[in-house]
């Protein structure tokens, strides 16, 4: 049932990603100050925004799970966080590439946006060992939801604290008074952010569909009383 609408969604994602990337390479002007390396921002920034929003969405699903007790929301929350963590790895890598080209270092410690993202990323990395350590399925789902809610509240707070602690080196394109982007760059950026958001949604749906399918297979095997092939995963929630 999770597989419904997956095909058009995937096609739309691929199409939008293709449009976004071709805009990046053939339409958006090359930035005079930084040259071609600036184009990585069309990937880096949308990935960062989508993964942070994904963490918060995981927290919202967790609230829905705690309120309703329906384990389906827990599966949503788990998959949202899972995909966002993967996006987070991509954010750290693309950010490092840009920083190496622009600042000459792979990592800059006195830069609040980098550090706060790293802290959020590390916190969400502990989500897996945390989940894995609790055996009872209902309890695991509940505790993971509590974690997701707490961490979801932590995301904005952490950004505020780290930003106050340090200087502003990271470019803040939208915040400058008379800066802002030229129209062609803005269009490309918006197209990329839509494409990445769509990619996130598609991956979440794929993951849910895969989990639900393997859950169903397991259930059918149990009905047929056949030995299960692979051992059941203790980390992943069972999706019905």
């Amino acid at each position: 049932m999770y597989g419904k609408g997956l095909k058009p969604l995937s096609i739309a994602t691929v199409a939008l990603l293709a449009i976004g990337l071709s805009l990046v390479f053939f339409y958006a002007p090359i930035e005079t100050d930084q040259g071609i390396i600036q184009k990585i921002f069309y990937l880096h920034v949308p990935l960062a925004i989508v993964s942070l929003v994904g963490f918060v969405i995981g927290g919202v699903f967790a609230i829905a799970h705690l309120r309703s007790g329906n384990s389906r929301w827990d599966a949503y929350s788990y998959v949202s966080i899972h995909i966002s963590v993967i996006f987070g790895v991509a954010v750290l890598i693309t950010g490092g590439i840009w920083a190496k080209a622009s600042w000459g270092h792979w990592w800059v410690w006195n830069e609040p946006t980098l550090v706060s993202f790293l802290i959020v990323f590390l916190l969400y990395c502990t989500y897996y060992p945390f989940r894995y350590a609790i055996e009872d399925r209902d309890q695991q789902a509940r505790y993971a939801s509590v974690f997701a809610v707490t961490a979801g509240a932590f995301v904005p707070l952490n950004f505020m604290a780290v930003r106050m602690a340090q200087s502003l080196v990271h470019p803040r394109v939208f915040a400058t008074a008379n800066g802002g982007l030229p129209g062609s760059m803005m269009l490309t950026f918006l197209c990329c952010i839509a494409a990445i958001a769509l990619l996130w949604t598609t991956l979440v749906k794929f993951e849910l569909a895969a989990k639900s399918a393997s859950g169903q297979v397991k259930r059918l095997r149990r009905v047929l009383d056949a030995p299960t092939g692979a051992p059941a995963s203790r980390v992943a929630p069972e999706v019905s």
Binding site: L66, L123, P129, F130, R142, V146, T150, A151
Partner: protein
Amino acid sequence: MTPSRAAFAAILGKDLRSELRTLQSLPAMALFSITTFVIFRFGLDRTHLSGSLAAGVLWATLLFAAVLGINRLFVTEREEGGFDAIRLAPIDRSVLFSAKVAALMIYLLALELIAVPIFALFFLGSGAALAPLVSVLLLADFGLAATGTLISSMAVNSRARDLLVPLVLLPLVVPLMIAATGATEPLLVLGGPGYHRFGTWLMVLGLYDLIFGLVGYAVFDFLLED
């Protein structure tokens, strides 16, 4: 006394009494912090610390000492069936959260009563910074107690108990530590305490306390369901 307040007093009293009789957490925390100070003394090879280095040494030590206490916070509840008793009792379950936060807060204050003067004795020339430091300690302790109680109550019911508390708690308290060291740093600079951005950092600490106090209070119910 309302039933919740009576339950709060009963749980808090029980915790403090059992700690006083068994002395499980506090001496270990105090001893740990003193040993860590000695290690820092030789690791950094300095007789005097000031500014950000002093703030870092103080807060890193207090945080790791706190983790020891946080690890033990719910162990008796689990081993002696205290969770079941709370579940059976006709009281609001959030009371357990507030009582445990209060107990942990008292442990941390007791720890700091021992550790901070020793820190001043080891590394600081004068004790002039200790009076304004109290407000930072109080605010940071509350935040640490709120997040620590929440994480401890989850970790104690898992398989990897002692492993989980430092793993999950440390990233969660990074903003708290940034604000606490930020507020402590000007107090410990050479030549008497300064107050550069002191109020701002206290406000961040207060905001952290508020948010995680409320989040902990709101979600704690779900951790006790069975």
